[in-house]
Amino acid sequence: METNIRHVDVLVIGGGVVGCSILRELARYDANVALLERNPDICEGTSKSNSAIVHTGFDAPPGSLEARLLAEARELWPHVIDSLHIPYLQTGALMLAVSDEDLSTIEAEIIPKAQRNGVNLQRLSRDEILENAPYVNPEIVGGVLIEGEGVIDPFWTTRAYCENAVLNGAQVFLEQAVSHITVEAGHIQVRTGGGLNFAATMVINAAGLWADEVAHLAGDASFRLTPRKGQFIIVEEDQGVSQIILPVPNRISKGILVTPIVFGGVLLGPTAEEVSSKSDLSTTAQGLQQIRAGIRKLVPAMVGVPTVRQFAGLRAVSSTGDYIIGPSTVSRRMLHVAGIRSTGLSASPAIGRYVAGLVRDELHLLPRHHFIEVLPEYLANAQPDEGDIVCLCRSITRGEILAAMRSPLPPTTLDGLKRRTGAMLGDCQGNLCMPCLIDLFQQQLGRDPLALNKNVAHSNMVAARISHSVDEPETLEALARERRDGHYG
């Protein structure tokens, strides 16, 4: 246990897209700010596994804080995307009606709600849709276009917020899960499982799915979060799909969509399943089947396209129904930023600004003199003689890998490298290039292959060094016997 106490003005708990946006906005002020993340990298929770849509908020509950922040975010995004060089495509979204009932839902609910949220929807006839998007189900009866919807890279966004904050003096502590929170006079004491001790004037609880548990550590049981699982299928062949295609939503979720990926390919999903575990990211045969059934109604040709990957994410559903942004019941020095459902990415620029504003008012912070608004181009660190390909499937060069390793927030895990560069994301899933990447981790960052994880602790790709004192003949013989007799295991 470290006895040294680190004094900070503001401590953000949680390195997801929301926590990192808040950190960046706090870094605009003359204050000592830090962020704690329990995983070995930022963006390991809800922020990494979602449909990557920058959503207009056309269907948010009008009058809610969520609707307000989504509307503000619409104004902020162009500048954020520009300053942080985030890959973004304004694809627009096409909502398809497959029945007259769907059409009346659009007229009676979707369009009026969008108008109250300040988002314009454009009605389209069946023929207009099929002319522009010949790949959609010919059995549709009509639909609407939501022009302002787009897709982004969620990891890039989160990392860019965080790196920009670090460039402006913020500190980031990885693999530091919060274990104790004690409210004291004038400050809040926060202890981590990694043995760090903080005395923070204010604490921001942006712990995503675990925000209720972090609140609980401080003695605040004012809200509960439950996980909702979303499974996705990634395909590389887009079948011509260039817009987000969505069904008319039901009460539980927006339904299963076809969403272009900003780097190419298409995402199919998500499911919306109430689950009990906050760490169960497994995909299921039923879930994948449900996705295909949903997709068949939108883009039938997409059903049989080969997939390169499936995954699941969990989003936080709050007991209150809206975002929970405000002081804890135990101290006004602890702010919760919780229950952000599935709109955290879309609203992140506005959430960051709103929360930083609350902190500024509470602590009377003044703007920092020299805030660096623009993040340097990520690949500017690639050297001209590092152009050889390492990741064959995705044509990722050695220079791109090394640039990520030289960045202000270098990867500490293989997944961290994957999300920074795109390496290992292709058809072979890294089975070809991973040894080379393990070598580069060792050469560039001094990481022993035995201590290199895929993502979380104990997810090592290498189990041991080969020792030759093994029962080799016995195992071989057993193997031969198994093959001969047809007994396996």
């Binding site: 003689d385 050889d388 899933q429 790709m461």
Partner: protein
């Protein structure tokens, strides 16, 4: 690489080496490969019982004079000739950047990559320890064990060779053939259990590693948009003379048929050489 080549060969694996040994290339030929030496994607698994001819081919291979061999040089695109008589252009990446290779003929022999559990949409968790033989062999070659207790799933000689080598390195190996269906992967952050279905019965195997060796796919990503016709499985379509739909562009080996074994790849190399030397154009 400013020259105009007679022939550019993409890939230095078995089919390519066999074609070169059979005299396909005499002069003004360029050979490029992703790796830093000849041998192709099978090389990390060799030597292995059952692969003696492949090993002999790689070990005894000598690059003929007249072939410019460029390693760590990866083809990333192909622009076929715009008009008859004009050369084809290969786009490749190497350490100094992107290069263009102009050539009369191209022989595509860039092999295949392994299928993963993702292609088969095997449900479950995504833990560390779910790998293919390619990764297992490369780790073993570097002196590392990919796990302690592995289930290897696949029927090919390649899968068997992988089992033997892992067992010899000290890994407890259980081999499951493709007559069983891989149903689910359980455990996180490492694999804990692999679930199969055979003869209507589910059975679980405890393991920290799953080596998925259920097959290959053609390595044709880089040909997207080139106009070269591929089949639904991604393999290149060729005629009886190994010519693609584009005149002067040929393809052999796994890239034309992902289920091909190494002896057939070697035979194909010989055959294409005799056809091309015989004046076929």
């Amino acid at each position: 690489m400013d020259n105009l080549y007679r022939l550019a060969i993409v890939g230095a694996g078995l089919s390519s080496l066999s074609a070169i040994n059979s005299g396909i290339a005499r002069e003004k030929t360029i050979l490029i490969d992703y790796a830093d030496a000849t041998g192709g994607f099978l090389k990390p698994a060799l030597p292995a019982p059952g692969f003696e001819t492949a090993w002999d081919l790689i070990e005894s291979f000598h690059m003929p004079a007249g072939i410019a061999a460029c390693f760590k040089t990866t083809a990333v695109g192909l622009l076929p000739a715009l008009a008859p008589g004009e050369p084809h252009t290969l786009i490749a990446r190497r350490s100094e950047g992107t290069v263009e290779i102009h050539t009369r003929r191209i022989l595509i022999a860039c092999g295949g990559l392994e299928l993963t559990r993702e292609h088969a949409q095997v449900p479950g968790t995504r833990p560390a320890g779910v790998i293919t033989p390619m990764l297992a062999h490369q780790l073993l070659s570097r002196g590392y064990l990919p796990g302690r207790r592995a289930v290897i799933y696949g029927d090919s000689n390649y899968a068997l060779a992988t089992s033997r080598r892992l067992a010899a390195a000290g890994v407890k190996v259980t081999h499951v053939g493709l007559d069983a269906l891989l149903m689910q992967i359980l455990g996180f952050p490492r694999v804990e259990v692999v679930r199969f279905l055979r003869d209507g019965q589910l059975f679980d195997l405890e393991a920290d590693t799953l080596i998925y060796a259920a097959g290959m796919m053609a390595n044709t990503h880089w040909l997207k948009g080139s106009g070269i016709i591929t089949k639904t499985d991604g393999a290149i379509e060729v005629d009886g003379h190994y010519q693609t739909n584009i005149s002067g562009i040929f393809a052999i080996g796994t890239v034309t048929s992902p289920s091909l074994d190494h002896t057939a790849s070697i035979a194909m190399g010989k055959e294409v050489a005799s056809l091309l030397i015989g004046g076929f154009s």
